[in-house]
Symmetry: C2
Subunit: 240 residues, 2 copies
DNA sequence: CAAAGTCAAGAGCAGTGCTCTCAATTGTTG
DNA sequence: CAACAATTGAGAGCACTGCTCTTGACTTTG
Protein backbone atom coordinates (compact mmCIF):
# COMPACT_ATOMS: atom_id res chain seq x y z
CA UNK A 1 0.00 0.00 0.00
CA UNK A 2 1.37 3.37 -0.99
CA UNK A 3 1.07 6.66 0.82
CA UNK A 4 -2.24 5.89 2.52
CA UNK A 5 -3.36 9.30 1.38
CA UNK A 6 -0.42 11.00 -0.11
CA UNK A 7 -1.36 14.48 1.00
CA UNK A 8 1.95 15.65 2.24
CA UNK A 9 0.97 18.62 4.30
CA UNK A 10 -2.67 17.78 4.79
CA UNK A 11 -4.13 19.34 1.67
CA UNK A 12 -6.39 17.13 -0.35
CA UNK A 13 -5.93 17.18 -4.07
CA UNK A 14 -7.51 14.52 -6.19
CA UNK A 15 -11.20 13.63 -5.85
CA UNK A 16 -10.11 10.16 -4.81
CA UNK A 17 -8.31 11.57 -1.85
CA UNK A 18 -11.32 13.67 -1.02
CA UNK A 19 -13.53 10.61 -1.00
CA UNK A 20 -11.01 8.66 1.00
CA UNK A 21 -10.67 11.36 3.64
CA UNK A 22 -14.44 11.65 3.83
CA UNK A 23 -14.81 7.89 4.37
CA UNK A 24 -12.21 7.90 7.12
CA UNK A 25 -13.98 10.82 8.76
CA UNK A 26 -17.23 8.87 8.60
CA UNK A 27 -15.58 5.85 10.17
CA UNK A 28 -14.24 7.96 13.02
CA UNK A 29 -17.64 9.55 13.53
CA UNK A 30 -19.38 6.19 13.66
CA UNK A 31 -16.62 4.75 15.82
CA UNK A 32 -17.06 7.64 18.23
CA UNK A 33 -20.76 6.85 18.44
CA UNK A 34 -20.17 3.20 19.14
CA UNK A 35 -17.50 4.08 21.65
CA UNK A 36 -19.83 6.43 23.49
CA UNK A 37 -22.67 3.94 23.52
CA UNK A 38 -20.97 0.64 24.20
CA UNK A 39 -17.52 1.43 25.58
CA UNK A 40 -14.00 0.93 24.32
CA UNK A 41 -13.56 -2.81 24.67
CA UNK A 42 -16.84 -3.42 22.84
CA UNK A 43 -15.83 -1.33 19.85
CA UNK A 44 -16.41 -3.52 16.82
CA UNK A 45 -15.12 -2.85 13.34
CA UNK A 46 -17.87 -5.01 11.92
CA UNK A 47 -20.55 -2.95 13.61
CA UNK A 48 -19.00 0.24 12.27
CA UNK A 49 -18.96 -1.35 8.83
CA UNK A 50 -22.64 -2.20 9.14
CA UNK A 51 -23.52 1.37 10.05
CA UNK A 52 -21.41 2.56 7.17
CA UNK A 53 -23.47 0.31 4.89
CA UNK A 54 -20.46 -1.64 3.79
CA UNK A 55 -19.02 -5.09 4.29
CA UNK A 56 -16.47 -5.47 7.06
CA UNK A 57 -13.47 -6.17 4.88
CA UNK A 58 -14.00 -2.90 3.06
CA UNK A 59 -13.30 -0.95 6.22
CA UNK A 60 -9.83 -2.48 6.35
CA UNK A 61 -9.05 -0.51 3.23
CA UNK A 62 -9.17 2.59 5.42
CA UNK A 63 -8.10 1.80 8.93
CA UNK A 64 -5.83 -1.23 8.86
CA UNK A 65 -6.87 -2.68 12.19
CA UNK A 66 -9.12 -2.27 15.14
CA UNK A 67 -6.21 -0.94 17.13
CA UNK A 68 -5.58 1.77 14.59
CA UNK A 69 -9.20 2.85 14.81
CA UNK A 70 -8.77 2.91 18.57
CA UNK A 71 -5.75 5.16 18.16
CA UNK A 72 -7.72 7.46 15.89
CA UNK A 73 -10.49 7.68 18.47
CA UNK A 74 -7.97 8.18 21.25
CA UNK A 75 -6.41 11.16 19.52
CA UNK A 76 -9.86 12.45 18.64
CA UNK A 77 -10.95 12.27 22.27
CA UNK A 78 -7.75 13.83 23.61
CA UNK A 79 -8.19 16.74 21.26
CA UNK A 80 -11.84 17.13 22.10
CA UNK A 81 -10.98 17.28 25.79
CA UNK A 82 -8.06 19.57 25.07
CA UNK A 83 -10.24 21.96 23.08
CA UNK A 84 -12.86 22.01 25.83
CA UNK A 85 -10.28 22.74 28.50
CA UNK A 86 -8.50 25.37 26.44
CA UNK A 87 -11.77 27.15 25.75
CA UNK A 88 -12.75 27.12 29.41
CA UNK A 89 -9.36 28.29 30.62
CA UNK A 90 -9.17 30.91 27.92
CA UNK A 91 -12.46 32.44 29.00
CA UNK A 92 -10.93 33.51 32.32
CA UNK A 93 -8.45 36.43 32.41
CA UNK A 94 -4.86 35.27 32.53
CA UNK A 95 -4.19 37.05 35.83
CA UNK A 96 -6.84 35.07 37.65
CA UNK A 97 -4.81 31.91 38.05
CA UNK A 98 -7.11 30.43 40.63
CA UNK A 99 -10.11 31.05 38.42
CA UNK A 100 -8.30 29.52 35.49
CA UNK A 101 -7.54 26.43 37.52
CA UNK A 102 -11.17 26.14 38.60
CA UNK A 103 -12.25 26.50 34.97
CA UNK A 104 -9.85 23.76 33.94
CA UNK A 105 -11.11 21.43 36.62
CA UNK A 106 -14.76 22.07 35.83
CA UNK A 107 -14.10 21.59 32.14
CA UNK A 108 -12.43 18.23 32.72
CA UNK A 109 -15.24 17.03 34.95
CA UNK A 110 -17.95 18.32 32.64
CA UNK A 111 -16.43 16.63 29.62
CA UNK A 112 -15.90 13.40 31.54
CA UNK A 113 -19.51 13.28 32.71
CA UNK A 114 -20.73 14.07 29.23
CA UNK A 115 -18.48 11.46 27.60
CA UNK A 116 -17.92 8.72 30.15
CA UNK A 117 -16.87 6.05 27.65
CA UNK A 118 -14.37 8.29 25.91
CA UNK A 119 -13.08 9.46 29.27
CA UNK A 120 -12.68 5.81 30.23
CA UNK A 121 -10.68 5.21 27.09
CA UNK A 122 -8.30 8.01 28.01
CA UNK A 123 -7.99 7.60 31.77
CA UNK A 124 -9.40 4.20 32.62
CA UNK A 125 -7.82 0.80 32.60
CA UNK A 126 -5.82 0.20 29.45
CA UNK A 127 -7.53 -1.84 26.77
CA UNK A 128 -5.98 -5.31 26.96
CA UNK A 129 -3.59 -6.02 24.13
CA UNK A 130 -3.63 -2.43 22.96
CA UNK A 131 -0.64 -0.17 23.29
CA UNK A 132 -1.13 3.43 22.26
CA UNK A 133 1.61 4.56 19.87
CA UNK A 134 3.44 7.27 21.79
CA UNK A 135 4.42 9.27 18.70
CA UNK A 136 0.78 9.91 17.88
CA UNK A 137 -0.79 10.25 21.31
CA UNK A 138 1.69 12.08 23.51
CA UNK A 139 1.14 15.49 21.98
CA UNK A 140 -2.67 15.52 22.25
CA UNK A 141 -2.47 13.56 25.50
CA UNK A 142 -0.46 16.20 27.31
CA UNK A 143 -2.59 19.19 26.46
CA UNK A 144 -4.45 19.30 29.77
CA UNK A 145 -1.41 18.91 31.96
CA UNK A 146 0.40 21.47 29.85
CA UNK A 147 -2.44 23.87 30.45
CA UNK A 148 -2.24 23.22 34.18
CA UNK A 149 1.49 23.78 34.27
CA UNK A 150 1.01 26.92 32.26
CA UNK A 151 -1.39 28.26 34.87
CA UNK A 152 1.03 27.47 37.67
CA UNK A 153 3.90 29.04 35.80
CA UNK A 154 1.96 32.20 35.05
CA UNK A 155 1.03 32.55 38.71
CA UNK A 156 4.62 31.94 39.72
CA UNK A 157 5.93 34.55 37.29
CA UNK A 158 3.44 37.04 38.66
CA UNK A 159 4.60 36.26 42.17
CA UNK A 160 1.17 35.02 43.10
CA UNK A 161 2.07 31.40 43.74
CA UNK A 162 2.28 30.90 47.49
CA UNK A 163 5.31 29.07 48.75
CA UNK A 164 4.43 25.71 50.12
CA UNK A 165 6.16 22.67 51.43
CA UNK A 166 9.77 21.96 52.26
CA UNK A 167 12.50 23.82 50.46
CA UNK A 168 14.29 20.67 49.41
CA UNK A 169 13.10 17.29 48.18
CA UNK A 170 14.83 13.92 47.88
CA UNK A 171 17.53 14.08 45.25
CA UNK A 172 16.07 11.67 42.70
CA UNK A 173 12.70 13.40 42.82
CA UNK A 174 14.34 16.80 42.48
CA UNK A 175 16.15 15.50 39.42
CA UNK A 176 12.90 14.39 37.81
CA UNK A 177 11.35 17.78 38.54
CA UNK A 178 14.33 19.57 37.08
CA UNK A 179 13.93 17.52 33.89
CA UNK A 180 10.25 18.45 33.72
CA UNK A 181 11.08 22.11 34.29
CA UNK A 182 13.53 21.98 31.43
CA UNK A 183 11.20 20.10 29.13
CA UNK A 184 8.23 22.38 29.65
CA UNK A 185 10.34 25.51 29.96
CA UNK A 186 8.89 26.62 33.28
CA UNK A 187 10.38 27.95 36.49
CA UNK A 188 8.09 26.68 39.22
CA UNK A 189 10.21 25.54 42.19
CA UNK A 190 10.45 21.92 43.26
CA UNK A 191 7.99 21.85 46.14
CA UNK A 192 5.28 23.55 44.11
CA UNK A 193 5.90 21.42 41.06
CA UNK A 194 5.61 18.27 43.14
CA UNK A 195 2.39 19.55 44.65
CA UNK A 196 1.20 20.44 41.18
CA UNK A 197 1.70 16.82 40.17
CA UNK A 198 -0.42 15.72 43.09
CA UNK A 199 -3.10 18.26 42.25
CA UNK A 200 -3.10 17.01 38.70
CA UNK A 201 -3.57 13.36 39.59
CA UNK A 202 -6.01 14.27 42.37
CA UNK A 203 -8.21 16.10 39.94
CA UNK A 204 -8.48 13.05 37.74
CA UNK A 205 -8.90 10.82 40.77
CA UNK A 206 -11.95 12.77 41.89
CA UNK A 207 -13.39 12.83 38.38
CA UNK A 208 -12.71 9.13 37.82
CA UNK A 209 -14.44 8.15 41.04
CA UNK A 210 -17.51 10.05 39.97
CA UNK A 211 -17.53 8.91 36.35
CA UNK A 212 -16.73 5.29 37.11
CA UNK A 213 -19.26 5.14 39.91
CA UNK A 214 -16.81 4.35 42.67
CA UNK A 215 -18.73 6.34 45.20
CA UNK A 216 -21.46 4.12 46.51
CA UNK A 217 -24.70 4.69 44.63
CA UNK A 218 -26.50 7.56 46.29
CA UNK A 219 -23.70 8.42 48.67
CA UNK A 220 -23.34 11.91 47.30
CA UNK A 221 -26.55 13.57 46.25
CA UNK A 222 -24.72 16.84 45.71
CA UNK A 223 -21.72 15.93 43.55
CA UNK A 224 -21.41 19.48 42.19
CA UNK A 225 -20.90 20.96 45.63
CA UNK A 226 -18.46 18.22 46.54
CA UNK A 227 -16.43 18.93 43.44
CA UNK A 228 -16.44 22.67 44.07
CA UNK A 229 -15.11 21.95 47.52
CA UNK A 230 -12.37 19.81 46.00
CA UNK A 231 -11.47 22.56 43.55
CA UNK A 232 -11.02 25.04 46.37
CA UNK A 233 -8.87 22.70 48.43
CA UNK A 234 -6.77 21.68 45.45
CA UNK A 235 -6.25 25.28 44.42
CA UNK A 236 -4.99 26.02 47.92
CA UNK A 237 -2.79 22.98 47.74
CA UNK A 238 -1.26 24.16 44.49
CA UNK A 239 -0.54 27.55 46.04
CA UNK A 240 -2.97 29.42 43.83
CA UNK B 1 -11.68 -18.48 50.09
CA UNK B 2 -14.98 -19.51 51.54
CA UNK B 3 -17.88 -21.61 50.37
CA UNK B 4 -18.86 -19.98 47.12
CA UNK B 5 -21.46 -22.70 46.56
CA UNK B 6 -25.05 -22.86 47.60
CA UNK B 7 -24.40 -24.14 51.09
CA UNK B 8 -26.67 -21.95 53.13
CA UNK B 9 -24.46 -21.16 56.07
CA UNK B 10 -21.18 -21.92 54.41
CA UNK B 11 -20.63 -25.45 55.69
CA UNK B 12 -19.94 -28.08 53.11
CA UNK B 13 -21.55 -31.43 53.73
CA UNK B 14 -21.82 -33.97 50.99
CA UNK B 15 -18.81 -35.05 48.94
CA UNK B 16 -20.62 -33.65 45.94
CA UNK B 17 -20.64 -30.22 47.44
CA UNK B 18 -17.00 -30.62 48.33
CA UNK B 19 -16.13 -31.45 44.74
CA UNK B 20 -18.29 -28.64 43.46
CA UNK B 21 -16.74 -26.08 45.78
CA UNK B 22 -13.30 -27.29 44.77
CA UNK B 23 -14.08 -26.91 41.09
CA UNK B 24 -15.41 -23.40 41.60
CA UNK B 25 -12.29 -22.53 43.56
CA UNK B 26 -10.18 -23.85 40.67
CA UNK B 27 -12.15 -21.76 38.20
CA UNK B 28 -11.61 -18.64 40.29
CA UNK B 29 -7.91 -19.41 40.59
CA UNK B 30 -7.53 -19.88 36.85
CA UNK B 31 -9.71 -16.85 36.18
CA UNK B 32 -7.48 -14.78 38.42
CA UNK B 33 -4.48 -15.92 36.43
CA UNK B 34 -6.06 -15.02 33.11
CA UNK B 35 -7.21 -11.73 34.54
CA UNK B 36 -3.73 -10.87 35.73
CA UNK B 37 -2.16 -11.82 32.43
CA UNK B 38 -4.58 -10.54 29.85
CA UNK B 39 -6.84 -8.03 31.60
CA UNK B 40 -10.50 -7.93 32.47
CA UNK B 41 -12.09 -7.37 29.08
CA UNK B 42 -10.09 -10.26 27.63
CA UNK B 43 -11.21 -12.74 30.27
CA UNK B 44 -12.48 -15.76 28.37
CA UNK B 45 -14.54 -18.55 29.86
CA UNK B 46 -13.39 -20.86 27.10
CA UNK B 47 -9.75 -20.27 27.90
CA UNK B 48 -10.41 -20.98 31.57
CA UNK B 49 -12.19 -24.17 30.53
CA UNK B 50 -9.20 -25.20 28.45
CA UNK B 51 -6.86 -24.68 31.37
CA UNK B 52 -9.23 -26.63 33.56
CA UNK B 53 -9.01 -29.47 31.05
CA UNK B 54 -12.68 -29.39 30.34
CA UNK B 55 -14.97 -28.37 27.51
CA UNK B 56 -16.38 -24.85 27.68
CA UNK B 57 -19.97 -25.78 28.30
CA UNK B 58 -19.01 -27.72 31.41
CA UNK B 59 -17.86 -24.53 33.09
CA UNK B 60 -21.37 -23.15 32.81
CA UNK B 61 -22.43 -25.80 35.32
CA UNK B 62 -20.50 -23.82 37.90
CA UNK B 63 -20.51 -20.16 37.09
CA UNK B 64 -23.57 -19.40 35.03
CA UNK B 65 -22.06 -16.68 32.90
CA UNK B 66 -18.97 -14.72 32.18
CA UNK B 67 -20.37 -11.85 34.17
CA UNK B 68 -20.79 -14.01 37.23
CA UNK B 69 -17.18 -15.11 36.99
CA UNK B 70 -16.28 -11.45 36.75
CA UNK B 71 -18.25 -10.76 39.92
CA UNK B 72 -16.49 -13.62 41.68
CA UNK B 73 -13.13 -12.21 40.64
CA UNK B 74 -14.21 -8.71 41.63
CA UNK B 75 -15.09 -9.80 45.15
CA UNK B 76 -11.93 -11.88 45.30
CA UNK B 77 -9.82 -8.88 44.33
CA UNK B 78 -11.59 -6.49 46.70
CA UNK B 79 -10.95 -8.87 49.56
CA UNK B 80 -7.36 -9.42 48.60
CA UNK B 81 -6.79 -5.66 48.57
CA UNK B 82 -8.76 -5.30 51.78
CA UNK B 83 -6.69 -7.96 53.52
CA UNK B 84 -3.48 -6.36 52.34
CA UNK B 85 -4.53 -2.93 53.57
CA UNK B 86 -5.83 -4.22 56.88
CA UNK B 87 -2.59 -6.07 57.53
CA UNK B 88 -0.50 -3.01 56.71
CA UNK B 89 -2.61 -0.66 58.81
CA UNK B 90 -2.75 -3.13 61.67
CA UNK B 91 1.02 -3.33 61.84
CA UNK B 92 1.21 0.31 62.95
CA UNK B 93 0.14 1.26 66.50
CA UNK B 94 -3.37 2.67 66.65
CA UNK B 95 -2.19 5.98 68.11
CA UNK B 96 0.01 6.74 65.13
CA UNK B 97 -2.74 7.87 62.83
CA UNK B 98 -0.41 9.46 60.35
CA UNK B 99 1.68 6.31 60.19
CA UNK B 100 -1.44 4.23 59.71
CA UNK B 101 -2.51 6.44 56.85
CA UNK B 102 0.90 6.14 55.23
CA UNK B 103 0.74 2.36 55.64
CA UNK B 104 -2.69 2.29 54.01
CA UNK B 105 -1.52 4.37 51.09
CA UNK B 106 1.62 2.30 50.55
CA UNK B 107 -0.39 -0.91 50.77
CA UNK B 108 -2.84 0.27 48.13
CA UNK B 109 -0.07 1.36 45.79
CA UNK B 110 1.96 -1.79 46.36
CA UNK B 111 -0.97 -4.05 45.67
CA UNK B 112 -1.94 -2.05 42.60
CA UNK B 113 1.55 -2.24 41.11
CA UNK B 114 1.72 -5.94 41.87
CA UNK B 115 -1.72 -6.63 40.40
CA UNK B 116 -2.34 -4.02 37.72
CA UNK B 117 -5.05 -5.93 35.88
CA UNK B 118 -7.01 -6.68 39.03
CA UNK B 119 -6.59 -3.08 40.15
CA UNK B 120 -7.90 -2.03 36.75
CA UNK B 121 -10.94 -4.24 37.25
CA UNK B 122 -11.69 -2.54 40.55
CA UNK B 123 -10.83 1.08 39.81
CA UNK B 124 -10.53 1.39 36.06
CA UNK B 125 -13.15 1.97 33.44
CA UNK B 126 -16.16 -0.26 33.94
CA UNK B 127 -16.28 -3.37 31.75
CA UNK B 128 -18.81 -2.59 29.01
CA UNK B 129 -22.11 -4.35 29.48
CA UNK B 130 -21.19 -5.49 32.97
CA UNK B 131 -22.88 -4.12 36.05
CA UNK B 132 -21.52 -5.29 39.38
CA UNK B 133 -24.30 -6.56 41.66
CA UNK B 134 -24.28 -4.12 44.57
CA UNK B 135 -25.44 -6.65 47.13
CA UNK B 136 -22.34 -8.75 46.62
CA UNK B 137 -19.69 -6.11 45.97
CA UNK B 138 -20.45 -3.18 48.25
CA UNK B 139 -19.27 -4.84 51.44
CA UNK B 140 -15.85 -5.95 50.16
CA UNK B 141 -15.63 -2.83 48.00
CA UNK B 142 -15.83 -0.44 50.93
CA UNK B 143 -13.18 -2.02 53.10
CA UNK B 144 -10.40 0.38 52.17
CA UNK B 145 -12.44 3.53 52.57
CA UNK B 146 -13.80 2.19 55.84
CA UNK B 147 -10.27 1.71 57.04
CA UNK B 148 -9.41 5.26 56.06
CA UNK B 149 -12.43 6.69 57.82
CA UNK B 150 -11.56 4.61 60.84
CA UNK B 151 -8.11 6.16 60.95
CA UNK B 152 -9.54 9.66 60.70
CA UNK B 153 -12.11 8.94 63.35
CA UNK B 154 -9.55 7.52 65.76
CA UNK B 155 -7.37 10.58 65.31
CA UNK B 156 -10.36 12.83 65.84
CA UNK B 157 -11.38 11.01 69.01
CA UNK B 158 -7.86 11.36 70.33
CA UNK B 159 -7.96 15.07 69.57
CA UNK B 160 -5.11 14.70 67.14
CA UNK B 161 -6.96 15.65 63.98
CA UNK B 162 -6.05 19.22 63.12
CA UNK B 163 -8.90 21.52 62.28
CA UNK B 164 -8.90 22.49 58.67
CA UNK B 165 -11.07 24.37 56.29
CA UNK B 166 -14.19 26.45 56.73
CA UNK B 167 -16.51 25.76 59.61
CA UNK B 168 -19.54 25.43 57.39
CA UNK B 169 -20.13 23.88 53.99
CA UNK B 170 -22.95 24.25 51.47
CA UNK B 171 -26.14 22.76 52.84
CA UNK B 172 -26.61 19.87 50.41
CA UNK B 173 -23.00 18.76 50.88
CA UNK B 174 -23.32 19.01 54.64
CA UNK B 175 -26.39 16.81 54.43
CA UNK B 176 -24.50 14.16 52.50
CA UNK B 177 -21.70 14.25 55.03
CA UNK B 178 -24.13 13.95 57.88
CA UNK B 179 -25.60 10.85 56.25
CA UNK B 180 -22.13 9.37 55.89
CA UNK B 181 -21.34 10.16 59.51
CA UNK B 182 -24.49 8.38 60.57
CA UNK B 183 -23.91 5.40 58.32
CA UNK B 184 -20.34 4.80 59.37
CA UNK B 185 -20.92 5.82 62.96
CA UNK B 186 -18.15 8.39 63.11
CA UNK B 187 -17.88 11.92 64.46
CA UNK B 188 -15.44 13.65 62.15
CA UNK B 189 -16.70 17.17 61.45
CA UNK B 190 -17.83 18.30 58.02
CA UNK B 191 -14.75 20.10 56.77
CA UNK B 192 -12.47 17.23 57.69
CA UNK B 193 -14.79 14.61 56.29
CA UNK B 194 -14.99 16.48 53.00
CA UNK B 195 -11.22 16.72 52.91
CA UNK B 196 -11.04 13.05 53.76
CA UNK B 197 -13.11 12.32 50.68
CA UNK B 198 -10.69 14.30 48.57
CA UNK B 199 -7.72 12.53 50.14
CA UNK B 200 -9.37 9.20 49.41
CA UNK B 201 -9.95 9.91 45.72
CA UNK B 202 -6.58 11.63 45.42
CA UNK B 203 -4.82 8.53 46.68
CA UNK B 204 -6.43 6.42 44.00
CA UNK B 205 -5.85 9.11 41.42
CA UNK B 206 -2.13 9.03 42.06
CA UNK B 207 -2.03 5.25 42.06
CA UNK B 208 -4.13 5.00 38.90
CA UNK B 209 -1.89 7.39 37.01
CA UNK B 210 1.10 5.28 37.88
CA UNK B 211 -0.51 1.90 37.25
CA UNK B 212 -2.24 2.92 34.05
CA UNK B 213 0.86 4.62 32.71
CA UNK B 214 -0.64 8.10 32.46
CA UNK B 215 2.61 9.75 33.36
CA UNK B 216 4.62 10.00 30.21
CA UNK B 217 7.01 7.08 29.87
CA UNK B 218 10.15 7.94 31.75
CA UNK B 219 8.84 11.18 33.20
CA UNK B 220 9.33 10.00 36.75
CA UNK B 221 12.36 7.84 37.34
CA UNK B 222 11.75 7.98 41.10
CA UNK B 223 8.10 7.06 41.52
CA UNK B 224 8.62 5.86 45.09
CA UNK B 225 9.87 9.24 46.23
CA UNK B 226 7.10 10.98 44.39
CA UNK B 227 4.52 8.84 46.11
CA UNK B 228 6.08 9.39 49.53
CA UNK B 229 5.82 13.09 48.88
CA UNK B 230 2.17 12.66 48.00
CA UNK B 231 1.55 10.69 51.17
CA UNK B 232 3.00 13.46 53.29
CA UNK B 233 0.99 16.18 51.57
CA UNK B 234 -2.22 14.16 51.70
CA UNK B 235 -1.73 13.36 55.37
CA UNK B 236 -1.37 17.07 56.05
CA UNK B 237 -4.43 17.71 53.97
CA UNK B 238 -6.43 15.23 55.99
CA UNK B 239 -5.30 16.91 59.21
CA UNK B 240 -3.27 13.94 60.40
C1' DC C 1 -31.88 -51.48 43.06
C1' DA C 2 -33.97 -47.91 40.87
C1' DA C 3 -35.03 -43.10 40.76
C1' DA C 4 -33.22 -38.61 41.11
C1' DG C 5 -29.68 -35.57 40.61
C1' DT C 6 -25.50 -34.10 38.49
C1' DC C 7 -22.11 -33.80 35.09
C1' DA C 8 -19.12 -33.49 30.70
C1' DA C 9 -19.26 -33.54 25.91
C1' DG C 10 -20.57 -32.07 21.44
C1' DA C 11 -23.10 -29.56 18.13
C1' DG C 12 -24.71 -25.30 16.96
C1' DC C 13 -25.89 -20.04 16.78
C1' DA C 14 -24.44 -15.45 16.45
C1' DG C 15 -20.94 -12.55 17.03
C1' DT C 16 -15.76 -10.92 16.71
C1' DG C 17 -10.88 -9.55 14.10
C1' DC C 18 -8.59 -10.32 10.14
C1' DT C 19 -6.86 -12.18 5.38
C1' DC C 20 -7.36 -13.36 0.82
C1' DT C 21 -9.21 -13.47 -3.86
C1' DC C 22 -11.99 -11.62 -7.45
C1' DA C 23 -14.65 -8.56 -9.98
C1' DA C 24 -16.10 -3.93 -10.76
C1' DT C 25 -15.68 0.76 -10.53
C1' DT C 26 -13.14 4.87 -11.00
C1' DG C 27 -9.46 8.25 -12.10
C1' DT C 28 -5.62 9.09 -14.83
C1' DT C 29 -3.02 9.16 -18.89
C1' DG C 30 -1.36 8.27 -23.68
C1' DC D 1 -11.64 9.11 -26.19
C1' DA D 2 -10.07 4.82 -25.18
C1' DA D 3 -6.85 1.92 -22.63
C1' DC D 4 -4.59 1.20 -18.43
C1' DA D 5 -3.84 0.99 -13.67
C1' DA D 6 -5.04 2.09 -9.16
C1' DT D 7 -8.57 1.65 -5.90
C1' DT D 8 -12.44 -0.27 -4.01
C1' DG D 9 -16.21 -3.47 -2.23
C1' DA D 10 -17.95 -8.00 -1.84
C1' DG D 11 -17.60 -12.59 -0.36
C1' DA D 12 -15.60 -16.62 1.51
C1' DG D 13 -13.02 -18.38 5.06
C1' DC D 14 -10.15 -19.06 9.55
C1' DA D 15 -9.89 -18.95 14.35
C1' DC D 16 -11.80 -17.11 18.17
C1' DT D 17 -15.61 -15.51 21.61
C1' DG D 18 -20.20 -16.23 24.89
C1' DC D 19 -23.85 -19.04 25.37
C1' DT D 20 -27.68 -22.78 24.74
C1' DC D 21 -29.40 -27.26 24.15
C1' DT D 22 -29.41 -32.17 23.80
C1' DT D 23 -27.42 -36.55 24.79
C1' DG D 24 -25.36 -40.03 27.30
C1' DA D 25 -22.93 -41.37 31.39
C1' DC D 26 -22.09 -41.13 36.12
C1' DT D 27 -22.99 -40.61 41.31
C1' DT D 28 -25.73 -40.10 45.15
C1' DT D 29 -29.81 -40.94 47.55
C1' DG D 30 -34.28 -43.09 48.99
Amino acid sequence: MRATSQTVGGEIRTPRERARAQTIADIIRLGRQHLAEHGAAALSLRAVARDLGVVSSAVYRYVGSRDELLTLLLVDAYNDLGDTVDAAVGSVPAEESRGRFAALARAVRGWALREPARYGLLFGSPVPGYQAPAERTTAPGTRVVNSLVEILNAAHRAGRLAERGPSSLPVPLAADLEAIRRELNVEVPDALLARGTLVWTSLFGAVSFEVFGQYGAGTFSAPDELFEHHIAVLADLAGL
